[in-house]
Assembly symmetry: C3
Homo-oligomer: 490 residues x 3
């Protein structure tokens, strides 16, 4: 029979004093963070004392009634153990006056770094130097006043803690858990340098992929401008510059999407080839490859974004006719031209087939990509088994890639090989774009050949070229490695 | 080195009896909730006794075999502490017969209120009056039978508990945690009045925003009907009433979206101005402003919805041609009219530019808005740092607003200033709609001027006009306040 | 006052030794899973010893420095209690040599089954037979190496554990919690058969719905092919085969969507009718009905997918004109035909109304369906009360169904009743498709009649035909049952 312990029957026979609900926490400072923290703590049944240097200056009603206001020293004295410092780091020295009272208390430093890479020691470390007789715990700085007030609807918001004192850390951890947060041990106080700069980070994992996508777009846009607008204008004075706003972006976006998707699956293939070449899996990948493997999700999502924009842009094309006063005109132009041309047998079967086909491929590819985007949502991914995840990310992903390539090829087949497409010795942009995914697909197919696939499987099961039976691995590992090499990849 | 305590090494050296897996819970009543709870508890290794007044009436197989069926009294006697009442509140008195057996037990009341604002004391409070010798704990009423059976895939579903007994509450909390729920202390038994009405709530936070959006739509629809359909009909007998179904909604929706977006960013600006005017941040905002600040997310999502519908509607316009039998007709009409008109040089450059431009702006604005909508998903928001959140909600949000305004202005520029647009002295509806976002953007720009922005930053750092150095705040606070004033806003 | 116990003040007055951070865990095997686990444990402040048969073969830097490498026996000896086996199950016997050292330890089996339904005893059970003096705990096999390394952003990833030893299970559970996972007790070691095959599952709950949707599509596609392409070709040699790629799928998809939506709401109605007929709710539904009720969410999402694809396809239709070189042609063809036809008064009011109307209905239906799809995301659903959920899934769901039906009927009204639509005695496909949802809507309306609805409400409140006052149920139950019967249904 299974035990309630398992999910936390954490009631000691004799609950310690603080567990009986008599815990008192002091907060120094009376700003938003202080207020929000006080509100939350009171709601969780903890008694709170707010210490301020000039209590009378605090507007009435700023804090809930249950909160006691007092001088800084008074507050610290009332606190059993925990004293939260909601002050500017630069004001920490002003507390030296009450150093005696602070001795033996746990000082919780919630401050953030001013700027990235300030290099020197962190606020928390400086605080620890100032008050050697107190225990300093760094934490809560990644939690916003807002989150404190509203609480986390799914009680799964992480609070990173670090300290040199195990006991101090665990006491603060309890408080965090008490407030419905999920405390995570981030090691000793040195880690505070990382923790303090965390809130300053701005999408670190998106930097690279965003840059890559942007450069790709820039390249294809410039290429298209040169090939389709500038050169024709110089050569024949053909003026198509109005295409800069809509048509040209709409030609560049799908190319970006294609290359981005290729970049999602390339690193996985490189990793596989590397393992095949080395004949073992017990050497780490080069740093750049590891980094790339970790950025596939972002690359994939950006590729999906481009594809979606392309779709919407394309669907806008007919709207063009409804532009303020162009609808009739362009239409008219066409009719007249046709009448002049006096076409005889205007219906071309293959043309119809092609346009139908490439539209279908495009729609389906986008549909599958959106499924991939959905499964990359945290919660959705969480409920998938590794096999499901592999199926979605690898199986569906390659299907989407194949469809996109087909979409492109079917669209531009006879353009690609008509001589007048190379008037300026520049191939159409999609010819360049489609090269990368084609290469990826070919590599993938080679890996699927029995000779390579079996060898790769053996390597991933721990076999080495040396032929010795290697350190055995759980079968799960090989698969999980597989998932790893696919995880987070669209 | 850090301590396992941190994430819960909750095994006391001598685990209490109930923790050894011999815990027995009694459930009175044999309905769906009773059954689901029994199934879940058995799965978690707790032995369950279901007490019913006529056991023989229970269909065989209704409960899992591990569940023991017995009389109500028998069940209560077998239970160590916890007795879950899965009964109608109106049947609580029927338990007075076994009051002796219930004495000293923890009675868990899972019932809900019949209707909102019943005013009088809650079911749980009445229960507590009936059985003074028992401990009454309110809880689980926000959990559905369904959730009980299926469990929560991410084990993060909250269970709100309240009681006057700390011990009772903690025992029920263990049971909740044992079942994979996340217990939350909601205070003493008086809170049960709130808890019981909770399941009756129907999107309280969406009421206001929905009403506002609906009224806006109503206004713009009526305005458009009057200006574009009714008056022209009365004046010139022009019959355009078929536009009621598609064209008119499609004109109203973008206006609603524009105003809604403006309403998202207005309160933040008001708050800033208020702080500037007061010269301090230590006074609370008026209640209505607080409420408004808390509704920005909903307003933004509704605005996004309108914008998306507008996009789809617009993309449907060309489909109109494919209507059962209108395609050829309208087209033909156009051609003929053109032929009659015998236009000479029909191509107008600026027109093409404009239509391209406003389509691009529209697409991009919608794209950015959908990014904002995605980041407003709980899990996605959870993994963002405050700076990332601010960047997305404020930076991208204002970009989207600017793009939407451009989209509107470029679209309707020369209509706005052509005299025949004012035949009935009524400006085009989008002229009205675009006013609000323009005002917002202007205010925002003024706030960005050095003079105001530095002053505002100082105020948010705790500085006051009085000039005294105020109570210092952690730097984090000013930023987090910043986030607060942006959080949940699209 | 409420108690911190509630959310886990799990610090016993005298924390046990392992809780003081001196815990040492041994991992046997040096594969990816071993490495990832080691990395994670070290990060959480646990000291790790990796045991391998040939330590020197392990590439330097493969493991973090904090990890101690040693022989298998050495590692086991150093471990206090927990020994994780990251080996192939087939190598378990190779550990018999160090059976003495393993005695009294907790062996954590993380392996997966090779294939589904291997029938015989699980790896964990075989391990337990091999090492009777050790405690065997099954767990972590659903966690991938990837998840171990990156950790779960919301600390809510479940770890299923099973064992015959309560203590062993609870110790492993602590380790899991320590790493930020959410341990779940899955019973005794027999359950390991289920746990081991879990990672091999591939969307079990999606199988049925996917098959149903696929068959529906196949049927409608074949039907359309026969009716619109093959027979006309054979009869009149009309060649429309180019419609296979785009037009025909676009006609089949909405039909599939309609029927799928009908299948979502049908089981709920069947359940209600069954209860009415039986006159009681205390009999279980037949197995097939239960299964169907549990698959509604998937059916609904697939129906939504089809509807969305249909929308995109339809929006692509005008693009058809922009096909490589068909734009002008088809247009021209139309104009010419018109000119030849020499239509007199080409504008037909009703036609315009209809096309406007069915487009509006379609757009709105899709909009509502997407709202439903969003609320079926785990996190979004989690924050809804049962009443909100019911409102969304039932209220909005039926609205969407009604709109889709209207969309179809308005579209095809006069086709449906024109004789030439029945040339081959086959009704248009949408006539078949619309039948199911119409039936559902009618049944629903009948259920809403006072006579049936009141009776159903009484039955769901526990009333039985026998007339006896039945076992009372909490009012919540009737509603929650209601939600159950709607939950997960689009």
């Amino acid at each position: 029979m299974s035990s309630p312990l398992l999910l936390g029957a954490e009631v000691p026979d004799d609950p310690p004093a603080m567990a009986r609900g008599q815990q008192t926490v002091a907060i120094l400072g009376s700003g938003d963070f202080s207020r929000s923290l006080a509100v939350r703590l009171v709601a969780c049944g903890v008694s709170v004392v707010v210490g301020s240097r000039c209590v009378k200056r605090i507007a009435p009603g700023l804090f809930p009634d249950a909160v006691e206001l007092s001088s800084q020293e008074g507050a610290v004295v009332k606190a059993q153990r925990l004293v939260v410092l909601a002050l500017f780091p630069e004001h920490y020295p002003s507390l030296l006056g009450i150093r005696a009272a602070l001795a033996g208390k746990v000082l919780v430093d919630v401050s953030n770094a001013m700027e990235l890479g300030s290099g020197v020691s962190s606020n928390a470390e400086q605080l620890a130097e100032l008050f050697p007789e107190s225990v300093v715990v760094k934490g809560f700085n990644v939690i916003s006043a807002w989150t404190l007030q509203t609480g986390t609807q799914d009680g799964s918001r992480q609070v990173l803690l670090c300290s040199d004192s195990v006991e101090g850390k665990s006491e603060v951890a309890q408080l965090a858990r008490l407030m419905g947060f999920h405390p995570v041990d981030s090691g000793d106080l040195r880690q505070s340098r990382v923790l303090e700069t965390m809130p300053l980070r701005l999408f670190p994992s998106w930097r690279g992929p965003l840059l890559a996508t942007f450069l790709l777009f820039l390249f294809f846009y410039a290429y298209g401008f040169l090939r389709d607008l500038l050169l024709p204008y110089l050569a024949h004075g053909r003026d198509g510059f109005h295409r800069l706003a809509l048509a040209l972006p709409n030609e560049s976006l799908p190319n970006v999407a294609l290359v981005a998707l290729a970049l999602v699956y390339l690193p996985g293939l490189l990793a596989a080839w590397l393992q095949l070449w080395r004949g073992t899996k017990y050497q780490r990948f080069p740093r750049w490859l590891d980094g790339w493997l970790l950025r596939r999700k972002q690359l994939g999502l950006l590729g999906f974004l481009c594809a979606a924009l392309h779709a919407v842009y394309s669907l806008c094309l007919p709207l063009f006719l409804y532009g303020p006063n162009n609808w009739s005109i362009s239409l008219y132009a066409v009719c007249i031209s046709q009448v002049k041309a006096g076409v005889e047998e205007p219906w071309d079967e293959s043309g119809v087939w092609r346009s139908d086909l490439y539209l279908s491929c495009g729609v389906l590819a986008l549909g599958i990509l959106s499924l991939l985007a959905i499964t990359s949502l945290p919660t959705v991914g969480n409920v998938l088994t590794w096999r499901e995840f592999t199926f979605v990310q690898s199986g569906l992903g390659y299907t989407a890639l194949t469809l996109s390539v087909t979409h492109t090829l079917v669209f531009g087949w006879d353009f690609a090989f008509s001589p007048q497409a190379y008037e300026f010795y520049m191939p159409p942009s999609y010819v360049l774009a489609v090269a990368a995914p084609c290469a990826v697909l070919v590599c993938r197919c080679i890996l699927l050949l029995p000779c390579t696939s079996t060898r790769l499987a053996r390597i991933r099961r721990g076999w080495e070229r040396l032929g010795k039976v290697s350190i055995p691995l759980a079968l799960t590992v090989s698969f999980k490695q597989d998932k790893t090499s696919l995880d987070a990849g669209l």
